[in-house]
Every structure is written in structure tokens, then in C-alpha cells.
Amino acid sequence: MCTYLTEKTPVTGSAKGADGWFALSHAVVYYDHPAHAPAEHTLNIDFSNLGKGPAARVAVELTTESAEALVAAIRTTLGARPL
């Protein structure tokens, strides 16, 4: 399926792409066909700077299980941070 399931959220931070580090403007999250991962559907995240053109993108494609594990790891890490 082409699910069209897409969430787009502004983010502040940086990512390292093919041409080095760049400031991020958005994360686009979608569940759809991957371009490379060996699965029919994956949870895909594009960390992008939408003002710097299409190549300002760091892309990941994760299996559903991997995405769930990543969410849990992020929550655990954020939960343990010193306040």
C-alpha cells in the first residue's frame, strides 16, 4: 500500500548528511514503502531542512519493531536525563 500516512513536525537541531552537518527545520515521519530497507513497509523518518533543498535530508527506514524499540529507547533516555 501507499499509505500516505504522514506526520510533519518542526524540530530544532542538526543532522549530518552527505555534505556534512546542517541545521534541521523539520522531521517528516511516515509509514510507507521504503526506498532501500528489505521490508514491504517501514517507519520512515526524514530529518530535513526544507529551506535548503531536497538533498538536505537524513533518511532512515526502520522496521516496525525497530521503530518501536527506538521510541522506547528515546523515552528511556529522556526519562533518565538530569533535570
Binding site: L5, K8, A35, S48, P54, A59
Partner: protein, 250 residues
């Protein structure tokens, strides 16, 4: 039989007078040949879609695949271009129709054209093929598992896509639809609803739903590829275009 073909990147006038990129594949014999506008899937103007265009050329059609992401991401890799267009909300319907109209006009302008043009689209392109056939005067259209001809995308999605089944009375040509029984976008229920609309408008159509296949069963590079469905689908496509696009023309 002389069977040479030629495939190349071209630039042609499209929606709003914009000159956009396209991939043209055509036989080198005098013809005359029907034209096929190949509408790429949501992952973009990629190698596998260009292969489809070359395949049509090898079967005696002038085939042109417009790069629907030309404006947002000229010269970018297909995956980066698809990501940029997704982030921007997708391809607007009005622009798609204009781009297909430009591609059809280009095909008709070729010296080997028989003045007939059809469309074929995959995934989001399936919906766009139906949209084009309801908006333009065409000779044949193929919808390969296009979602949201019927039904709304989930709430809150930023993509500019909505149902277009209400356009069915304006369908200008015969429609071939190829679907997977295990697909959810479109679901078998949505395919049935479209079929009902076609019947109500007394349109000429031919639908096939393949058991054991889901979305993107033609896509040879993905795990969704289903060789048996794809082989039968190609046979039906070539038979359909053979009846409606091939030959001397009017």
C-alpha cells in the same frame, strides 16, 4: 523486423507553461504508434518507472513519463525528490492534469503518432491516471492500485489528496483497473465502490483483482512484487492498449 528503440530525457511544456523533465521511449520505425503517458508511483521518477516506459516502446508505443517532481526537486535523486514533495504536501491535482495534458500533447506532436493517447499509473499514479481520464479527452486509461479514488485519507494528513469518484461521469475513455486483494489502499471494498460508480455511469471498464497480491505487485524491486499477478497484468495492459491505442488512428 526492425526493432530499434530510443529512450532519452526530454523537456516539454506542461501545466502553467512550465517546462518539465520527462523520459521518452519510442520505437525507431515510422509507425504510426499510439502514445502512453506513464505516471510514476509516489516513490518517484525512478529507474523502475523508466523501465516501464522502455517496455511500452518495445511493444510499439511512444511512451512519455513526466517527472511530476520536476519543480520541487530538479535534478535530485528520486528518493530525495519524493521526500521533498511529500513534505510539501504532494502533487496538486490541477497541476497533475496539466502535466499529463502537456505530455499527451507532446506525444501527439511526434511524427510517428497515430493521434491516440492513453495513460497508465501506479500507486498514487493510479489515482492520477483516473483523474486525468476524467479531466482530459483520452483514448484509454489504466489504474494500477490507485488509492483514494474512493475514500478519504486519514484525518490530519498533510498530503493534498482526496476522493475523486464523483468525477466518474466525466470519464472520457475505457478504463482498465488492476488491484491486489490484500491491498488496503485501495481496499477491495473501495474498488467495488468505484466499480459501482462506473456501472451507474455506463462506462466501459475492466477490473481484475489478484488473490495473493497486495499493493505494488508490479514493482520488481520491492518485496511486494508478485510475478504471477504482474505477468497476467502486463498481458491485460498490452491487450487493452492494443485494442484502444494501437493502429492507424483516426
Amino acid at each position: 523486423m526492425y526493432d530499434a528503440t530510443m529512450a532519452e530525457t526530454i523537456y516539454f511544456p506542461a501545466h502553467g507553461g512550465d517546462v518539465i523533465e520527462g523520459y521518452l521511449a519510442r520505437p525507431m520505425s515510422p509507425g504510426p504508434y499510439g502514445g502512453v503517458v506513464v505516471i510514476h508511483h509516489m516513490p518517484g521518477y525512478d529507474r523502475s518507472t523508466k523501465e516501464i516506459a522502455r517496455r511500452f516502446a518495445s511493444h510499439g508505443y511512444n511512451a512519455l513519463c513526466p517527472n511530476l517532481y520536476s519543480r520541487e526537486a530538479p535534478g535530485q535523486s528520486p528518493d530525495d525528490a519524493a521526500a521533498a514533495v511529500r513534505a510539501a504536501g504532494g502533487v496538486p491535482d490541477e497541476r497533475l492534469v496539466g502535466d499529463v495534458a502537456g505530455a499527451a500533447a507532446f506525444l501527439k506532436s511526434l511524427s510517428t503518432s497515430n493521434a491516440k493517447v492513453g495513460t497508465i499509473g501506479y500507486c498514487s499514479g493510479g489515482r492520477q491516471s483516473f483523474l486525468a481520464a476524467c479531466s482530459l479527452e483520452l483514448d484509454a486509461a489504466v489504474d494500477c492500485y490507485g488509492a483514494f479514488v474512493v475514500g478519504n485519507p486519514p484525518e490530519g494528513m498533510p498530503l493534498k489528496v482526496g476522493p475523486i469518484v464523483h468525477l466518474t461521469p466525466q470519464l472520457s475513455c475505457p478504463l482498465l483497473g488492476l488491484f491486489g486483494a490484500e491491498d488496503s489502499f485501495p481496499s477491495p471494498e473501495q474498488v467495488a465502490e468505484l466499480e459501482q460508480a462506473l456501472q451507474q455511469s455506463s462506462k466501459t471498464y475492466d477490473f481484475h483483482t489478484y488473490e495473493g497480491a497486495g499493493h505494488a505487485f508490479f514493482d520488481v524491486d520491492r518485496p511486494s512484487y508478485r510475478p504471477e499477478a504482474a505477468k497476467d497484468g502486463w498481458k491485460r495492459i498490452l491487450d487493452f492498449f492494443g485494442r484502444h491505442l494501437a493502429g492507424q488512428g483516426s
